[in-house]
Symmetry: D2
Subunit: 335 residues, 4 copies
């Protein structure tokens, strides 16, 4: 029996998730979708005979033939639909962010715990990237001893004028915040943000690059260079410094060229290609665990802690100070 999925928000990533669930992955099918733009919603499912358009997100959630929900609408609407799914007792996959505020994420955590069953998975897809998984295996199997420091870089070729300084945290570093928490199996206790000399290639309102410094409960240090007008490519770097050695995220696979007096590989320019395979793995695993009545990906607790950490980073962007991140023991519910 295929898992019957309803999708709220048929924009860019909504459409992609619909197509992978319907045509590429196994064990699930799309039965209902919606969007504030109903025409768009209808267009997206026109080659999926078994799927229909519902008028609202709530209608999708409540539909009797919908077993599980995928939320891919704008971030500000996520909280409502995730809470709705919990109320309906249905599993929900919510694209990041879980909510646009830490308080909103906390409400989801509280509702889910009150409901007594884990239902929510957040769309932090890096945990499903083959490279990060290899890196986590090395960290976990003790090859490099205990992890002490993580150096990261998150570089984009460029961003548009609407990209603001705090988006470097909420839209960009948010992925490192989650994936390094997972990699280290640790949580953050303080944040600081350095503002280096600004590139001439950024709009005047944007601080770019920035360096985010995070400290964990275990005393580990994480530094993230975020540079969204780096021109040369979309480039994700991660190096873990351990007691016995260093492990580094593999570069994306690329033909090795000798040409025009240069030796090396290509760097991606388009961020979409970097984690394209991770989305498949993420949703396949979500389908599989959901079918078993489990959640084994990033939970709403993870989404909440990412939000709390991001808030401290944003505060640190303007204060210039080391901002404490309140430590909260992970509830047994999420262990």
């Amino acid at each position: 029996m295929a898992l019957r999925v309803g999708v709220i928000g048929t924009g860019a990533i909504g459409e992609e998730h619909i197509r992978r669930i319907q045509f590429k992955l196994v064990g699930a099918e799309i039965v209902a979708v919606t969007d504030v733009n109903l025409e768009r919603a209808a267009e997206v499912i026109k080659d999926i005979p078994g799927a229909r358009v519902e008028k609202t997100g709530q209608a999708v959630i409540e539909a009797a033939d919908v077993d599980a929900i995928v939320v891919t609408s704008w971030g500000a609407t996520h909280e409502e639909y995730v809470l709705g799914s919990i109320a309906a007792g249905k599993p929900v996959f919510c694209e990041k962010p879980l909510a646009t505020t830490a308080a909103g994420a906390k409400r989801i955590v509280d509702a889910e715990m009150a409901a007594g069953k884990k239902l929510v998975q957040v769309g932090f897809m890096r945990r499903y990237d083959s490279g990060y998984r290899m890196l986590k295996e090395v960290v976990d199997n003790g090859s490099i001893g205990d992890s002490l420091i993580v150096h990261c870089a998150h570089r984009n070729p460029e961003v548009g004028e609407s990209y603001m300084t705090d988006m470097a945290i909420h839209d960009t570093v948010i992925h490192e915040i989650d994936v390094i928490r997972w990699l280290l199996n640790d949580d953050y206790v303080s944040a600081q943000v350095l503002m280096p000399k600004k590139t001439k290639n950024a709009f005047s309102h944007l601080s770019d690059p920035q360096i985010v410094l995070l400290e964990t409960a275990e005393g580990r240090r994480v530094d993230v260079e975020v540079f969204v007008n780096a021109k040369y490519g979309y480039d994700i770097q991660c190096e873990v410094v351990g007691e016995e050695g260093i492990a580094r995220l593999p570069e994306p696979q690329s033909v090795v060229m000798r040409k025009d007096a240069k030796y090396g590989t290509n760097i991606l320019m388009d961020w979409k290609k970097r984690f394209i395979d991770s989305y498949d793995v993420e949703l396949q695993e979500w389908i599989d665990s959901t079918a078993k009545g489990e959640v084994d990906g990033p939970t709403s607790w993870d989404g909440y802690r990412a939000a709390v950490t991001a808030d401290a980073c944003v505060k640190a962007q303007t204060s210039g100070a080391i901002e404490a991140i309140p430590a909260e023991p992970k509830p047994d519910f999420y262990k």
Copy 2:
């Protein structure tokens, strides 16, 4: 409507293909299987409710509910089942080799042409490897100009005592023979084999390493170092020398380590892991094209030409001479 697949031979790779078709890929299901070892066949499908064991390969081929056949029995039996599938007018995916002799492969080509419809795909899975595909894209898009030379290496950690000198061609270099033909869109006209100083790590009856030299119709030169007791790892290298630059097959993805006074990556020891993803892509594409009534993978013509080339290489192993490979224009049927 899922493609209903029958499988002949439920050994190592037969079982793997059954599981990927049934549980991992989309658009197909296993309905019938057989093996000379019927218990083994039953064991393999015990968690596939819709599948049954047939007594013979011919029974699988003829079963009314079998739309397409997968042949994964021992090489010597492939010809019979492929000819049977053609006679039944059913699409067939046959693991390499298509046949154990060039004459056998030719009989398949002739039967298929007589039947008037392409039905046969051969299991040369390297064409589906992401690295080789990236390399082919570079070759095809003109980045390095026309290809002039290809340097290859095919190295295994070790082989058992039953591995004979001619198996270096039929079991090992056969993959390079096919994939380089495809990469260059060219065919071979001569073969020569050099026997370098023998490693002390090979059994006394085996010449190891060997260097196979192939010449193509367009005058390109291909050299393949085949070294099956190379100890250090399973390692596939391929470098294309073009008029304007050089392109090299990517190494398999691996965490970059700094440890124990060494900087670098791991090399696979187990050949099965090297092309594991390619089998998925290969069979998914086979399912998709079969569903459309097409064959877009390696054809029986490709399997035949690989066999002819391998025969010339084996002859060259003992003659020490440059052995001609009869040029044959590709029939329009296969274009």
Copy 3:
């Protein structure tokens, strides 16, 4: 006419410098040496017929046939001999540190300016490393645009029990402090030191690893991971993030191996080998410029600013705060 050199301090590096000046480099010869251990001094020059032992450093400085001085005694004695050389009007090459306090270095700067002629070069040999020079060329020629951030790592396999937390600055990071100032053609304005989770491989009294954060007058940010019990090797990393691209210090040259399931190169374990060639270049250039009556290497101003910066870093180690480094315009004398 060869430059006649006197050497004060014939310990480990004193002996090495004596041998390279006498036997490997051109344009200079050793004429006089001294050490508090006179036997050691005599031993070191026993195969140099033209050289003699003097009883004191001052005697070396004042000897009529000594044109230039090399100071390779213990750090605490450097100031005295450099001031003595200035007083004698003789060029002096002083191993790092120029003085053990910023005040001492300042006294040298003042004396040299009062003398009205540049005479002092400090032994910051990294500026002469072929890799750093290639990196500086890339930074200077504009290939990566303006430099915004520099990421550094300075890792040793291990240190002895006598190595204290502040030595991570004075003995280790001091090299990054100088070479990055030179690379960026900029100077520091603040320092902060992070203390990550401690490795179990360090003595209990030592904080290891540490992360030193420096800010420059131009707003550039420099981070230096210093990890002196990193076990796996002696490893110097430096990556410059520019507006248009990233440039990284080359790894030391090493044969690329495929062996024992590993692909990669060796990492040095012995720090002495890492910059061994730089000492030759450094002293050859010192001989050449001294012969011309010039100083074109690191000046006493550079030694002084390195000392001021190191003091701020040491203060930051215990304060945990961002420590200001007083900006001082470089005197015209040193431009």
Copy 4:
């Protein structure tokens, strides 16, 4: 006492050698030079007070104050001056080739043996390259077990119209011929040359690329791709396949860049830069061993065997056959 050197031929490399001997290396000085173009000879030494121009090569050889000779005139004149030096009992460094025919080289070997003392060193500078030396150390120390195969590539960006097919052997592969003999401590017994599809970037009279196949007395196999219009750079590759692993010549040191969607290093375009440091090491070691009355670099035997091998390769270029290279035991004199 400095070694007093006379130089015959003050062209491109003659001038460079004069300058390095006089100004960069230790233990030697230029006292006499000559050239068929006497004005050129005078020009080259105008800033070397102790040096004079002699009218002929023979006059240089015979000059009482000349201790040792450097021959850097055109190849066709080398034999005469080397024989002259032997007759005069003086050590001689002769740029490659030792002679333009194997017979000529043999005459030198015979004369030197008759004279009873090794006097001749040939200018095969690759043996002094730091990369090849590292590679030889790996081969010699047993890290990769016995060597079985060597894969080489020798690629130039382009050559002029005067470069003929046989020059690929005599001017280009000659360096591999020597350096691989030395690396393996073995000698050649057969040669074959393959002519791949020709690049459109070569002049019509030139076969380019070519693949030279050499077999050694121990049965090892060496393949050299020589491609002199490879466009993309000057690139020397060498990979030794051993029983226990593979070792590859390091790439020249270069800053690692991330720029313009590319990750990697620069490749040299100018061959002169590739081995520039090797010339220094080569001549310094020649000076040092000559001062001790020894020859420890490539001997005239090496020059002779290189010539014999090159002749077989040239024959193989046109015959297309496997050409035997007469085995000759190395005389005790050269052991």
